[in-house]
Symmetry: C2
Subunit: 259 residues, 2 copies
């Protein structure tokens, strides 16, 4: 089941915010995974599309972490170890932190939530999606020389092909190759940007200094094919849990679906 929950942490040893939060949060996450199961941790690390997204904000000695998982095998043991660690404390960078609060539902915080894969697969058809990009977002594109390049623009095809790839990697019912190719072709050519208000924002994702965009983007599918509208609805719901684009495990590409 896709889950997104928030942890409020407070440092017991320092008043200063952690320097490179995305790097430390990433490290903490894998450290926790390793505590649970070293094999699982290695598997997750090696996955082409990791089954979680992770972001954090800090204010003085307090840190809020958002952890979203797409996969039950990850969520349940993770919650278990977090609860046990909440007593002994967590390390984020060089300092010790204690969990002070957990938010697991949108009533507690609108960046938290839970859905089930059956519910997500049964998502309503849509011909329009408004996404609020909360943290800097980039897409990985490759150049003719094979070099990796980061694009900080909400091209509809990049947004939806990123979500489609994640869906294929983690949904219990992925599309067949033929269906996937047909959807990718539609996303390449038929989606339009109907509204946006965006700006660049620099971001340190682990060891990379990147320029991403934040803001609101509305994307529409103006044609009538129902299978596309259904996929559009599913992927829109998925985005809240998976994030969008590159470096979502370092806090980039966190989004919220707007009404």
């Amino acid at each position: 089941m896709p889950y997104a929950f928030l942890l409020d942490l407070d440092s017991t040893t320092s008043n200063a915010p952690p320097r490179n939060l995305s790097q430390y949060a990433h490290g903490l996450f894998y450290h926790l995974l390793e505590t649970i199961d070293p094999v699982l941790s290695k598997q997750v690390h090696a996955a082409k599309r990791v089954p979680f997204s992770l972001s954090g904000w800090s204010e003085n000695s307090s840190v809020r972490l958002r952890i979203a998982t797409l996969d039950d095998t990850l969520f349940r043991p993770l919650l278990h170890v977090l609860i046990s660690k909440s007593v002994t404390g967590l390390e984020l960078g060089q300092h010790a932190y204690q969990i002070t609060r957990v938010f697991a539902t949108p009533e507690g915080d609108r960046n938290a939530g839970v859905t089930s894969w059956p519910d997500l697969l049964a998502a309503s058809e849509r011909d329009r999606v408004t996404l609020r990009f909360l943290t800097p977002t980039v897409f990985t594109t490759s150049r003719s020389d094979g070099k990796r390049h980061y694009t900080p623009l909400p091209e509809p095809r990049l947004v939806f092909k990123s979500l489609l790839a994640t869906f294929q990697a983690h949904s219990p019912e992925p599309y067949s190759n033929t269906e996937r190719a047909a959807l990718a072709a539609v996303f390449d050519e038929q989606l339009i940007l109907t509204h946006f208000e965006i700006r660049t924002k620099p971001y340190r994702a682990g060891k990379n200094n990147l320029t991403g965009f934040v803001g609101t983007v509305q994307i529409a599918y103006p044609e009538r094919t129902r299978e596309v509208k259904r996929a559009f609805g599913r992927l829109a719901e998925l985005a809240f849990y998976s994030g969008v684009g590159a470096k979502t495990s370092y806090g980039m590409g966190q989004v919220r679906l707007e009404p």
Copy 2:
């Protein structure tokens, strides 16, 4: 010589702003050209990349038109006919207007200016350009089915390939085919977006309702090839006169170079 000048017009018969200003301004422009020389008017109309850009703003009974030309054969007779018409009046839509002011230099208005092709060709090398998109901007891209599509995003390659095509069409010293292809390849792959703050804005360009973007965009060329930096400098200077992207003769894609 590339010129950009502004005309303030005041209606003598109506207090209402003209309904479809871009359409009427476009019509007025060709009407004036025809007064000068019917053959010239036809030639300009048939050009793949027209040698002028045109935009307008209105406030109550006042209209401000900005006319920018890339071509002496257009500017001098145009100015001549405008001066003679300033006595008898101009028609914009169903109403008569009189020219109340003309701005031809940046001291009068920062959207006016003049340069010469030799000066433009000698523009300083640049590795960074900040453009302020004053009116909604779109780029024409074609789909695999050949259908025309409008992209409202400042992809660096679209911005600079649009400017390069205009440069090739109107510069007295265009690049050779080999040089042009080399520059296009660099624009496709090596430019990066270092900053932007943009939003969509709907626009009626003649008979088309389009969604363009406005705002500030900074594009950088991070490599060292001097011929590219020189082209970057030239095209940045050209943008103020030519506009950027599609429908510049209907008021879209007007830009100002920021320091």
